[in-house]
């Protein structure tokens, strides 16, 4: 989880990732940042995020992203 927060802060430093739970709906992360984010997560955690998983519900908070990574790792 720490590594994920590190990636997020590297992409968009002005957000408190421990508390914000509307990263997509609140327009904190735009579509270009998502492209970087997905590439960095896949690179770092050795998972493949299918495009169907790129939905606000999975990316609205660091916690949700972490849950997605854990789930993809299991698969």
């Amino acid at each position: 989880m720490e590594k994920l927060i590190e990636i997020l802060e590297g992409l968009q430093p002005e957000v408190d990732y421990e508390t914000v739970d509307n990263l997509i709906d609140g327009r904190y992360l735009d579509s270009l940042t998502i492209l970087s984010l997905v590439s960095e997560i896949e690179d770092e955690f050795d998972v493949e995020i299918p495009t169907v998983e790129i939905i606000p519900a999975n990316f609205n908070s660091a916690k949700k992203m972490w849950e997605l990574i854990e789930r993809l790792k299991e698969e």
Binding site: L32, T33, L35
Partner: protein
């Protein structure tokens, strides 16, 4: 046939609703399927065969993909980790091959009916230029009604099954209804199987509440078309057909009128589609979300024809920008160019494909391609200059949330949309470029020019009332206030008074009679 015709609204819909209510619940979706086929046959006759082929290939492909997935899971249960990888790769290849064959078969219909002539004409021109004595035959063919809509709807279902987002449907009649549902058949919106399946096949009862809400929505759509769109059609036709005779001011006015007309006609049709489905208890997502309240052109296209944008985003933009080579490019570019410009390269490549196809989707012609590429360029420039604009605003202490800044943004956004729509409406590139040139260079308004645009003072008053009414409703929607809900809380006398006002205003202000030409259902041609 138009969804906004009196015949459809007050004969077809009531008849469908009455019979739908009488038919037993579990057969209601079959009745809707029969209505859909009847509508298709009524318009496109024997071309219904193409629809049947799409339905059949869609149904079979999705089932096969599901079967492959089940077989894979079975084999994985008894395999060690080495074998698991091999099994996964093997099935991934089979599934992909099946998907590609399915897409090729169905897209070939679209190419044959919509683009073959365009390609043939251009190839002939090229051959002539190269002094090659050969030319392809140009055959005039009529495309099956709504092919651009139902075909992409079908593709989305199979791709969703491929991605594991939905289970393949075992009942072929349900797949057939999903693809050919009469309310969305001709002008969309694109629905997704996962979103619509529950309400579409439930055979929900027609309730008094749904009937009221549905017809309110339909009447609102009719108001937009008859009071505003049909009236603006006169002005738009005169300006676009004779732009040489008018000043840049009239060209701009004609362009604004066209954009407003397109919005009123298309969103009005969506009101009918969503309203009539609401009566039948079928939930369809909104296709417009107050687009003119957007901050920039990029946001505009997430609020206008939403389902088309979402289709391109999910099935073109993300698959390209998140393909393996693109992801590699994003990571390495980010290291060199930083957080903003790093992902911009892969994002822009995907965006180019999206807007190229978006232009082509609207029609086979250079004006439509120009329409797509114009938007690609504007969105790209917006992305490139965003950091610089933020920097300048911060330096000059300009608050970007300030109302004046927001108004400036909206005017800029609207102007770009208007310019884009010139390409969309103009018959040739020469007309489009000629009008744009006039807008920027010729502001010499001739005497009597305004009165020669085909509308009289009564028309302008009706337009002012109509547009103000739609604008007020849009503000409520933007503030998340459901006007129809608010109306339902009012006493019965007030409610019916409001209904009558709406109905009478359509009769009173509607543009019918001598001199008016109803606007064609524009999106039905795509």
């Amino acid at each position: 046939m138009s969804y906004l015709s009196i015949y459809y609204l007050f004969l077809v819909i009531p008849a469908v609703v009455i019979i739908y209510s009488i038919v037993p619940k579990k057969f209601r979706y079959i009745f809707l399927l029969l209505v859909s086929f009847a509508l298709f046959f009524y318009i496109s006759k024997k071309l219904i065969v193409i629809l049947f082929i799409t339905i059949l290939t869609t149904y079979i492909s999705a089932l096969f993909i599901n079967k492959l997935e089940e077989k894979k899971e079975l084999l994985l249960n008894n395999a060690n980790s080495e074998e698991k990888k091999e099994i996964k790769n093997k099935f991934k290849f089979k599934k992909k091959l099946l998907l590609i064959i399915y897409i090729l078969i169905n897209v070939s219909f679209l190419v044959a009916y919509k683009y073959l002539n365009f390609f043939s004409i251009n190839t002939n021109l090229l051959l002539k230029l190269l002094h090659i004595d050969y030319s392809f035959k140009i055959i005039r063919i009529v495309a099956p009604i709504g092919i651009s809509f139902w075909l992409l709807t079908a593709l989305s279902y199979v791709i969703d099954v491929y991605n594991g987002k939905v289970e393949a449907e075992k009942n072929p009649l349900k797949v057939a209804l999903y693809i050919s549902y009469f309310a969305t058949l001709i002008e969309g919106p694109f629905t997704r199987y996962a979103d619509i399946k529950d309400s579409m096949f439930a055979g929900n009862n027609v309730t008094y509440d749904n009937l009221c809400r549905g017809y309110q929505r339909i009447m609102f759509g009719l108001f937009k078309k008859m009071v505003i769109a049909d009236r603006l059609n006169i002005l738009v036709k005169i300006v676009f057909d004779n732009y040489i005779e008018f000043s840049g001011f009239s060209s701009l006015l004609g362009t604004i009128a066209y954009t407003v007309m397109l919005y009123m006609e298309f969103s009005g049709t969506m009101d009918v589609v969503i309203g009539s489905s609401e009566i039948l208890g079928i939930n369809i997502k909104e296709n417009f979300r107050q687009p003119f309240f957007s901050k920039n052109i990029s946001e505009f296209w997430t609020r206008w024809h939403i389902s088309l944008g979402a289709w391109f985003r999910d099935y073109i933009f993300y698959p390209i920008s998140l393909s393996k080579p693109m992801k590699k490019l994003t990571i390495s570019a980010r290291k060199k160019l930083g957080n903003h410009f790093g992902p911009l390269i892969s994002g822009s490549i995907a965006l180019f494909v999206v807007w190229f196809l978006n232009g082509l989707w609207h029609g086979a012609g250079y004006t439509f391609l120009a329409f797509g590429l114009f938007h690609f360029l504007m969105i790209l420039l917006g992305n490139i200059f965003t950091p610089l604009i933020i920097k300048i605003c911060n330096k000059l202490n300009i608050n970007r949330e300030n109302i004046i800044y927001r108004v400036f943004q909206s005017i800029k956004m609207a102007f770009l949309v208007f310019i884009g729509e010139i390409f969309f409406r103009a018959d040739t590139m020469q007309i489009a470029l000629g009008m744009i040139k006039k807008i920027f260079t010729d502001w010499s308004i001739r005497t009597g020019e305004i009165s020669s645009l085909g509308l009289d003072i009564y028309d302008y008053i009706a337009l002012l009332i109509g547009i103000t009414f739609v604008f007020v409703i849009s503000i409520f929607k933007e503030k998340n206030i459901d006007v129809r809900n608010e109306i339902s809380k009012k006493p019965v006398a007030v409610r019916w008074a409001l209904y009558y006002i709406l109905i009478f205003s359509i009769f009173l202000l509607g543009a019918f009679g001598h001199g008016y030409v109803p606007v064609d259902p524009m999106y039905a041609d795509f």
